[in-house]
């Protein structure tokens, strides 16, 4: 098998937090606590799971927006989690990001032209002033915005248009991987459809890999090749789209999918209603992290943490009910 574009090995990110106003003891938020996966060139991997389960933290670790606590992030065979600033520069070009909020992620004082020129200059991509101009107009064409919009400022655009500018800025660096963190979540239904279509077109045109973070499972199913389901800082199931949506195995994946209301009046649905709230990532439950809400919990779940096991050719599940399958890591 050829080398995956991105490999994440046992990634951990623990944020220190003050235990109390006067306490000297510090506690940790175990935001991401041992996560492993790979993304191939041109592939879309989606990260799904409840708010606060660590999806964005994984994304930010890959972008190296902070130093990780433990583990490895490997881009095209080269570690980037501890790369020196000089190597990191080129690495940064290859992984770009599109955030949820097009309003706050664009500098309101800059013209679109300058927003897009910045990464092109930073990474020394333009050979000349003419080349820069060619690149700028090509970017506008790619994201289907009028060329004259280059001279306007972000506040003059609608939410959907701003998200196109955000995508153009990511593309300007000629990346191989784009992290889309809830990139379409804030958009209206009809605008969302436009941006989803655009992302799919760009993927096939440029062979881009996407890490697609979203809580909208229908959009995920529409966009993705594979899905990793996270719960409280861990991956509980990872599988190709078909397996996740047709034959989910982890009780949390099943609950998540069953809870999505279908746009079909009268459809018979039996949502698995989970009791209780998401436990705190400061004191994650012992044993299986899902045991406080799992409808299938049994004694062993409260004391022993399940590991990811192969449940099919490309399907991995962390649940004691999968007993019997050989334990391994998904890179194996």
């Amino acid at each position: 098998m050829s080398l995956p574009l991105l490999q994440v090995n046992d990634l951990k990110k623990h944020f220190p937090v003050k235990a109390g106003l006067f306490s000297r003891k510090s506690e940790f938020v175990y935001a991401v606590d041992g996560v492993s996966f790979e993304i191939a060139r041109g592939e879309t991997l989606s990260l799904v799971g409840e708010s606060g389960c660590g999806k964005s933290t994984v994304g930010r670790a890959i972008l190296r927006l902070f130093d990780i606590t433990a583990g490895q992030v490997i881009l095209d065979g080269q570690r980037i989690d501890d790369a020196a600033p000089s190597t990191m520069r080129q690495m940064r070009r290859r992984v770009q990001v599109v955030f949820q909020d097009p309003f706050s992620s664009l500098n309101p004082r800059m013209r679109v032209r300058d927003i897009l020129a910045e990464p092109i200059r930073n990474f020394g991509l333009a050979k000349s002033a003419e080349d820069l101009e060619v690149r700028l107009t090509a970017l506008m064409d790619t994201v289907r915005l009028p060329r004259e919009a280059l001279n306007r400022r972000p506040h003059e655009f609608s939410g959907g248009q701003r998200q196109r500018i955000g995508i153009a800025r990511a593309l300007a660096a000629e990346p191989e991987l784009i992290v889309c963190d809830e990139a379409v979540s804030a958009l209206d239904v009809s605008v969302k459809a436009q941006i989803v279509n655009l992302l799919q077109d760009l993927q096939s045109e440029f062979g881009l890999a996407l890490l697609f973070i979203s809580h909208d499972l229908a959009i995920v199913e529409h966009m993705t090749h594979r899905v990793a389901v996270m719960y409280l800082g861990k991956i509980v199931e990872v599988a190709p789209r078909r397996e996740i949506f047709a034959a989910p195995r982890h009780p949390y994946t099943k609950a998540l999918l069953s809870a999505v209301p279908l746009p079909e009046p009268g459809a018979q649905r039996n949502p698995i209603i989970l009791k209780g709230d998401v436990p705190s990532p400061i004191n994650p439950p012992k044993g299986c992290r899902f045991h406080t809400r799992c409808p299938l919990v049994f004694d062993r779940c409260r004391v022993e943490e399940p590991v990811l096991r192969a449940a099919g050719a490309e399907q991995w599940v962390a649940c004691h009910l999968e007993e019997g399958a050989p334990a391994a890591s998904p890179e194996g």
Binding site: S190, A193, L262, P263
Partner: protein, 329 residues
């Protein structure tokens, strides 16, 4: 007789750029115990409609005209004092962002208690007991402890449920829920939708549900009203609307959402896009409000606004060519 009858509601705002006709001549009704969903693009006037029903529009810059008859009374003719007695008692509202309607410096228990003391005349002890009961009912773990906590100590999902508890504490005849679950995870959303249905069954409340999630609409609404640019453009029973939408905007909306299971049934397809943008509500609109984005628009559409016409049993739509449109769906 309908519980709520809204006739020719017009809520306009004076702005520096001209009069914003946020809601421009909308009529609808809600029967006792019925759930009506309002859907439409952001900015189409859904929230302004619901805030008008509650008379929570700041006047000025806003101005409400038309009539809103609730249980026979015209709400627009009531004094502020009479309206306050109805709000939170006969009609309650769940707002999209719970922090804006919860008081950050009061414990959640006190907030529920005060609602009960003001509206139901309960004494402190009885109100406290009822507050804990309400929190249990909305599925909040350890309600006895939570009543003593402040809103910021709760998770987003819990705050939303506290608001729902407050909204339902007085067994309202009408509950208005403006995007009640948009900010929540699907698992919590499922709990809350179930709660709304339970409470409806228990006390027979009518619900006006505003949402852009068509899955939620299909799940709990009986009738749907589609708004576009401050107008009602279509209304039908929920199954009928999803099966045969008559307005091109509604058709576009239904085509723009992917369906869960699409990859399995082989129905995956490119999502339909509605090109263009909503018209500027500060400028007079001649002809059909949707003409600027409609693939079927003709000169007739651009000159004459279509009226709401009957297209089937209890099904109305405002389109000159809705028969043609239905074929295109």
């Amino acid at each position: 007789m309908a519980l709520l009858e809204v006739d020719n509601l017009q809520t306009h705002f004076r702005t520096p750029g001209g009069i914003n006709r946020a809601v421009d001549g909308v009529s609808f009704h809600v029967n006792e115990g019925e759930t009506l969903a309002i859907v439409g693009e952001s900015g189409c006037g859904k929230s302004v409609t619901s805030m008008s029903l509650m008379r929570l529009i700041p006047e000025p810059p806003g101005r409400i005209a038309g009539s809103i008859r609730f249980a026979g009374k015209d709400l627009l003719k009531l004094s502020d004092r009479e309206m306050r007695a109805i709000r939170g008692n006969d009609i309650s509202m769940i707002f999209q962002e719970p922090m804006t309607s919860l008081n950050p410096v009061l414990t959640v228990g006190r907030q529920i208690r005060e609602t009960l003391m003001i509206h139901q005349g309960l004494d402190k002890q009885a109100a406290e007991a009822h507050a804990i009961e309400m929190l249990t009912l909305v599925g909040i773990p350890e309600p006895g402890r939570r009543v003593r906590e402040y809103p910021h100590q709760l998770s987003g999902g819990m705050r939303q449920r506290v608001m729902i508890a407050i909204a339902l504490a007085c067994n309202p005849k009408l509950l208005i829920a403006d995007e009640p679950t948009t900010a929540l995870d699907v698992t919590i959303q499922a709990q809350i939708l179930k709660l709304m249905l339970d409470l409806k069954r228990r006390v027979g409340a009518a619900i006006i549900l505003i949402t852009h999630d068509l899955g939620v609409v299909a799940e709990i609404a009986e009738r749907v009203m589609v708004m576009y640019a401050g107008r009602k453009v279509e209304e039908a029973p929920v199954a009928e609307l999803f099966r045969s939408p008559r307005h091109p905007y509604t058709q576009g909306l239904l085509g723009a959402v992917p369906r869960l299971g699409s990859s399995l049934t082989g129905t995956a397809r490119r999502l339909a896009e509605i090109p263009g943008q909503v018209p500027d509500l500060r400028k007079p609109i001649v002809g059909c409000v949707f003409a600027g984005r409609c693939a079927l628009a003709t000169d007739l559409c651009r000159q004459y606004a279509p009226g709401l016409e009957e297209k089937g049993p209890r099904h109305i739509a405002a389109c000159h060519y809705s028969a043609k449109g239905a074929v295109a769906a």
